[in-house]
């Protein structure tokens, strides 16, 4: 929370905790929503896929932020829960013989999203159970084990074999319908993702300013102190895993509508690490941080990709004998991303949301900002 503008103050706790504390914030949010809604008409259509990728990363990193940033439970296996969500949704759409009227009404996919959320949440609670006894590094180990057990073993070896399709389930176009809308173009995927992100943000924000959120933050700050204050630690930790898994399941279920197929290589360990990287870049313990981190990471990927493609085009046309460089550039991309994470953590340890906070305060307190320490 940043400082309020000069001369604005509240007299009750309820006022202080409002969604929109001042009219300026309300106006800012409305402008943002209008901009988001108008985005497909403002930018080139090739950026739509970038935008919904950002939204997917936001959805997936939401659960990671909840666990790491608000409840202090470090997780390095979130891709497993996203995978459970994606596969649950895909299999429900593909394999369950739905009655005709439900298919026509477009109820199948929305129902599968909710079920995916619950399946991923339960799977996440299962691997959250050790958090009752262990914490810190040992919890990292169990969540990593969740990744290794879920994706390479259960999903690749058992789930993918159902129906005899081999490695990936492909969803025929037109199958993914929400009500009267068939999700078939980049714009529709984008709108769908924006709605999901806004809904999840509202849920997360409301959870965090209620009793549950305060309990999570108490556990993060000092779990033993929280226990002596009467917080049911195990219950709230498992609840955190449940909610984080639910968000992950929704993210997974959304992503199949964008990809039109689902296969294990979209849920590798790399993605678990990437989402933790996103919240560290954006700022741990900040909801805006997820957005900043996702935008930063996806943009860095996109720019690296564009520069690599551009470079290899130039190389191919003017120096054909240097063709081998292009294959090297792909790996250079990965190295550069690793270095970006490292230098971000070294030189900007508070994340981007801290800079945003400073900027906001500067304008809120202008011209009488306190410039001491």
């Amino acid at each position: 929370m940043s400082y309020l503008p000069c001369g604005t103050y509240f007299e009750s706790y309820a006022d202080d905790q409002k969604w929109w504390r001042t009219n300026f914030i309300k106006g800012k949010m409305l402008v943002m929503i209008i901009l988001l809604a108008a985005a497909p008409y403002l930018v080139d259509s090739q950026w739509m896929s970038v935008f919904y990728t950002i939204n997917y990363y936001i959805l997936a990193a939401l659960g990671v932020q909840l666990l790491i940033g608000y409840c202090g439970q470090i997780t390095l296996g979130h891709a497993a829960f996203v995978a459970v969500g994606g596969y649950t949704s895909a299999m429900m759409v593909l394999f369950i013989p739905w009655p005709e009227f439900m298919v026509d009404a477009g109820l199948v996919y929305p129902i599968s999203i909710v079920c995916a959320g619950f399946a991923a949440a339960l799977w996440s609670v299962l691997f959250g159970l050790p958090s009752a006894r262990v914490k810190g590094f040992y919890l990292i180990m169990t969540t990593m084990a969740a990744q290794w057990i879920t994706v390479p073993l259960v999903i690749t070896q058992y789930v993918s074999q159902i129906g005899g399709r081999g490695q990936s389930f492909s969803l025929p176009p037109g199958l993914i319908k929400i009500g009267p809308w068939t999700i078939d173009s980049d714009e529709k995927i984008y709108y769908f993702s924006i709605i999901l992100v806004l809904l999840c943000f509202i849920v997360m924000g409301n959870l965090l300013r209620s009793k549950v959120g305060r309990a999570w933050i108490a556990i993060r700050d000092n779990d033993i102190a929280a226990e002596t204050m009467g917080v049911n630690i195990v219950g709230y930790k498992l609840l955190a895993f449940f909610v984080a898994g639910f968000f992950a399941g929704i993210a997974g279920a959304f992503w199949i509508s964008a990809l039109f197929f689902v296969s294990p290589e979209h849920y590798e360990w790399f993605y678990s690490l990437l989402w933790v990287g996103i919240i560290l870049i954006g700022g741990v313990g900040s909801i805006q941080g997820i957005v900043f981190g996702s935008v930063f990471v996806v943009m860095v990927f996109k720019l690296l990709e564009m520069s690599v493609l551009g470079l290899s085009d130039i190389l191919m046309t003017s120096y054909p004998e240097l063709g081998w460089v292009t294959t090297k550039l792909i790996f250079f991309k990965e190295s550069a991303f690793g270095l970006a994470i490292i230098f971000f953590l070294i030189y900007e340890p508070n994340g981007l949301s801290y800079r945003y906070w400073q900027l906001k305060n500067y304008f809120n307190l202008w011209p009488f900002s306190y410039t001491g320490k």
Partner: protein
């Protein structure tokens, strides 16, 4: 019964490599408190560097000398890389939160992986001509590949060297002091920065030799880093800050992995061999969270 014995023996020999790599991991954790997730990539780098040296040396000298010289070269490169990594990346992270330090090691693993594949491509590469003969060594009806036996011997020699280094040299003693109580060690004139650098250098050297041996067994590709990642179950089993724990844990995980490969793969499709240590680790964590000989941390508000 014969299969059982054979799996056990091969498991012990494979496990000794894991033990060697885990030794490096435990050292870093003991001395500087860094939980290193880049160990798999360090292992992989070692393998590739050794291969590069071997391919140079093989043209001018017989196989045995070339391999030993290549191993020594790998250790020298590991020393330099370890000192550099500590100086450039990790020293700036002293005093930062645990998660940030872990993510720096994750970033390191991306960086190293990209670098390795940039230089050496992703195809599987093998040591040619073969360093160890394909003929297995048969003792009392148990056949063990020569590469396993030599790996075991090499890993054991290196482990003895490292343990002697900690026990009897001045540098080793300063590392022990720093691991035991950093404040007290600092006040007695031990340079903590030097100790951290040394720990990283030793970890790189141990991982490099481990990677070379693993590369000789299965060929070098990305799966070597997966095997290197097995240090995590190993250290959880042995306790995070226990050197004997790392050795016992490594050998146990080696046996367990071989057993799973020998007996369970008939019932489970796919790579149960790779996943079994992690499943074991989760169950083990529930019952004995601090490992066999790890320090139990008592917390106060």
């Amino acid at each position: 019964m014969e299969l059982f014995l054979q799996l056990i023996v091969t498991g012990i020999m494979l496990g000794s490599i894991f033990a060697l790599v885990s030794l490096g991991w435990v050292l870093i954790y003991k001395c500087s408190g860094v939980l290193n997730l880049a160990m798999g990539e360090l292992t992989m780098i070692g393998g590739y560097v050794c291969l590069a040296f071997y391919e140079r040396f093989i043209t001018i000298m017989p196989i045995n000398y070339a391999f030993v010289l290549a191993l020594i070269g790998t250790m020298v490169i590991g020393l330099i890389l370890g000192l550099l990594t500590e100086r450039v990346f990790l020293r700036k992270m002293i005093g930062e939160p645990v998660l940030a330090v872990i993510m720096v090691t994750v970033g390191l693993s991306f960086f190293f992986k990209g670098m390795v594949f940039m230089f050496w491509d992703t195809d599987t590469q093998i040591f040619l001509p073969r360093v160890f003969s394909i003929e297995p060594i048969v003792v009392g009806g148990i056949a063990v590949g020569a590469v396993y036996v030599w790996s075991f011997i090499a890993a054991m020699i290196l482990m003895v060297v490292f343990v002697c280094f900690f026990k009897y040299t001045r540098w080793g003693l300063s590392m022990q002091a720093c691991a035991d109580d950093e404040m007290a060690a600092l006040s007695l004139g031990v340079s903590a920065k030097f100790v951290y650098a040394l720990a990283w250098a030793i970890a790189f050297m141990a991982a490099g030799v481990g990677g070379t041996l693993l590369g000789n067994i299965n060929g070098l590709n990305y799966s070597v880093s997966g095997l290197g990642l097995l240090v995590l179950p190993v250290v959880v089993l042995g306790g995070l800050n226990s050197v004997p724990g790392a050795i016992v844990g490594g050998i146990t995980i080696g046996i367990l992995q071989n057993m799973a490969g020998g007996y369970l793969s008939a019932y489970f499709p796919g790579d149960i061999k790779e996943v079994a240590p992690f499943i074991f680790m989760v169950i083990f964590l529930l019952f004995k969270p601090y490992g066999l000989w790890g320090w139990e941390r008592i917390e106060r508000v």
